[in-house]
């Protein structure tokens, strides 16, 4: 490919995004921010798929299609998650995970 940016750069970006997402998922206390971290993970997956497809297997479009479906499913997931978060806000008047927790290990 003659695009100039080597494929490794995309993969490094995706890796950084993935682990930022995992770190955010584990450390953040706000439910919306946790949801955003999950989106970060899914987008890093998309970058991976697209970079592999464009650079290594440009004659087929499997990676492109896969990332399209990942985007669609992530939207569905976010819709259900936000609906439940709204319900949590009604129950607990907060969306902080520490305060909105009744069950203990």
């Amino acid at each position: 490919m003659s695009t100039g940016i080597p494929v490794q750069y995309f993969l490094i970006l995706a890796t950084i995004m993935f682990f930022t997402g995992v770190y955010g998922f584990l450390t953040r206390r706000n439910l919306i921010t946790i949801l955003m971290s999950v989106e970060l993970i899914l987008n890093s997956v998309n970058i991976n798929f697209l970079a592999f497809n464009r650079y290594l297997y440009p004659h087929k479009l499997e990676g492109m299609f896969f990332s399209l479906f990942v985007i669609a499913v992530a939207a569905a997931e976010a819709a259900v998650a936000i609906a439940i978060i709204i319900n949590i806000y009604r129950r607990f008047s907060t969306i902080n995970v520490e305060d909105a927790s009744e069950m203990k290990y």
């Binding site: 798929f49 290594l56 997931e77 949590i88």
Partner: protein
């Protein structure tokens, strides 16, 4: 290609049609008729379950994206039987006043998750597999938050959707690596191109971690207990039996057909996770007070035993996993059926509340005892034979130490299962559960479970039939 070729997708098409019918009935029926929606759905699903047993042909659809064989049909039928029992069990709960408005939603969501699981089991391409797994998990989160007026239910819902989203993210990251190294996502082509490079193994580990979340294998089990406790009991029983069963089925298919090239790697992974899952599941189950949490940890440890069938990669292993899940469906749904009946009648969900149950409700406590004995693996009930085959499959390949650990864990599990039995038969309760009469649906579901526990153990023809349809690496 004629329309008839789509009929090999019969299981999924019927489920989608049934989901639409339930939705249409909800819209067009008036207030009087709506009371019959649950009966309508149960009968509809009963017909689907029977139709699943009709002879079917193997084949592929959509250019190899959808694959069906006698083995996948068997797995779908087992899931159908379990789901039918859950449907029947949940009817009395749905008749309650606060749920009567939402009856059709419940069945719609359950039917769509089941369709997702069937697509997942029949996948021939990782895209189909991913869509199936998401269709199977997203509606379940809505179901876990079904009791929208209860704090715990909302908490269970958010815990389930966030942890399942994280797990699918991890799974997809692994898949992207597998795609990067092989250039394809078809199961057949991936299996041919899979070598032993470190990037592929890393991708597999990510993939396995994502699947382990769904089956709740230690150390990816932390969501299980809270979600099981917070969800409505019928949804908990569905989660612990059908969801877990479907994930186990697809994992064993994937390990045996897509990843045979790295068998020595996944055998080590399964060895460690199996020991951890059995031990930690059992140790935490001992200290539980809530019966749903107790059954959650018991189901975690059961997943550890099931992994024993994976490890050899042999035909007997696969047969024993399928057989064990069939037995597990009957035993666990028997136990949950009793929990649901008591929870519906009194709202009590603690093990202490079961004190003296035998004196007030002898038949319920006998069924519970039988189900717990089957889960623990005491002969002559079916659970014993299930565990026996699993252990044999692992021992056949020389994993004697693992089998020893599993047997020791079975003894630990016997202790806490008997704690519940002791509570029911020996302990004197200050405020025992009052005597109550169950309705027709509860009785029907419990009778099927008891018959299943007894018959699957003694009818050797069932295991022979399953074994003929299984395959090794």
């Amino acid at each position: 290609m004629s329309l008839g070729t789509f009929l090999i997708m019969r299981h999924e098409l019927l489920l989608i049609a049934a989901a639409l019918l339930v939705l249409i009935a909800e819209i067009f029926w008036n207030e009087d008729k709506r009371r019959y929606i649950s009966l309508f759905s149960v009968i509809l699903f009963g017909i689907i379950t029977i139709a699943g047993f009709l002879p079917s042909t193997a084949g592929t659809l959509f250019g190899g994206m959808y694959v069906t064989s006698a083995t996948t049909v068997l797995m779908k039928n087992i899931l159908n039987i379990g789901a039918l029992l859950v449907f029947i069990q949940s009817v009395p709960w749905l008749k309650k006043k606060e749920n009567s408005e939402k009856t059709s939603e419940y069945f719609l969501l359950l039917l769509s998750t089941l369709a997702g699981m069937n697509y997942m089991i029949s996948a021939g391409h990782f895209l189909m597999f991913y869509i199936g797994i998401e269709l199977a998990t997203i509606p379940i989160a809505a179901l876990a938050a079904f009791d929208s007026y209860k704090n715990k239910s909302a908490e269970a819902g958010i815990k389930l959707i966030l942890s399942s989203a994280l797990s699918s993210g991890i799974l997809l990251y692994g898949l992207s690596m597998i795609y990067g190294t092989t250039g394809t996502l078809y199961f057949k082509e991936v299996a041919e191109l899979f070598g032993n490079t470190s990037l592929q193994i890393l991708g597999f580990i990510f993939f396995f971690a994502g699947m382990a979340f769904k089956i709740s294998i230690v150390p990816f089990h932390l969501w299980t207990a809270d979600v099981y406790e917070g969800s409505p009991v019928s949804v908990t029983s569905y989660l612990s039996v059908i969801s877990k069963g479907a994930a186990v089925f697809i994992l064993i298919i994937l390990l045996f057909t897509v990843f045979p090239a790295i068998i020595s790697t996944w055998q080590k992974t399964i060895y460690v996770t199996s020991v951890l899952t059995m031990t930690i599941g059992n140790l935490f189950a001992i200290r539980q007070q809530n019966i749903k949490r107790f059954l959650a940890f018991s189901s975690i440890s059961q997943a550890g035993y099931i992994l024993l069938g994976f490890i050899g990669g042999n035909q007997l292993g696969m047969a024993s996993v399928i057989y064990y899940l069939l037995v597990y469906i009957f035993s666990n749904l028997g136990a949950f059926g009793v929990v649901i009946a008591i929870s519906n009648a009194t709202g009590k969900e603690n093990i202490d509340d079961y004190n003296g149950l035998y004196h007030t409700n002898p038949s319920l406590s006998l069924i519970m005892t039988l189900a717990l004995f089957s889960l623990a693996g005491i002969p002559p009930v079916a659970g014993f034979f299930g565990k026996f085959f699993l252990f044999t499959a692992a021992a056949e390949k020389g994993y004697y130490l693992l089998v020893l650990i599993a047997v020791l864990n079975t003894i630990i599990s016997l202790y806490y299962y008997l704690l519940v039995v002791k509570a029911m038969f020996i302990n004197k309760g200050e405020t025992p559960v009052e005597k109550f009469k169950s309705d027709f649906f509860t009785k029907l579901a419990l009778a099927i479970c008891v018959a299943g526990i007894v018959v699957t153990g003694f009818a050797s023809i069932i295991f022979e039939a399953i074994k003929n349809l299984s395959f090794g690496v």
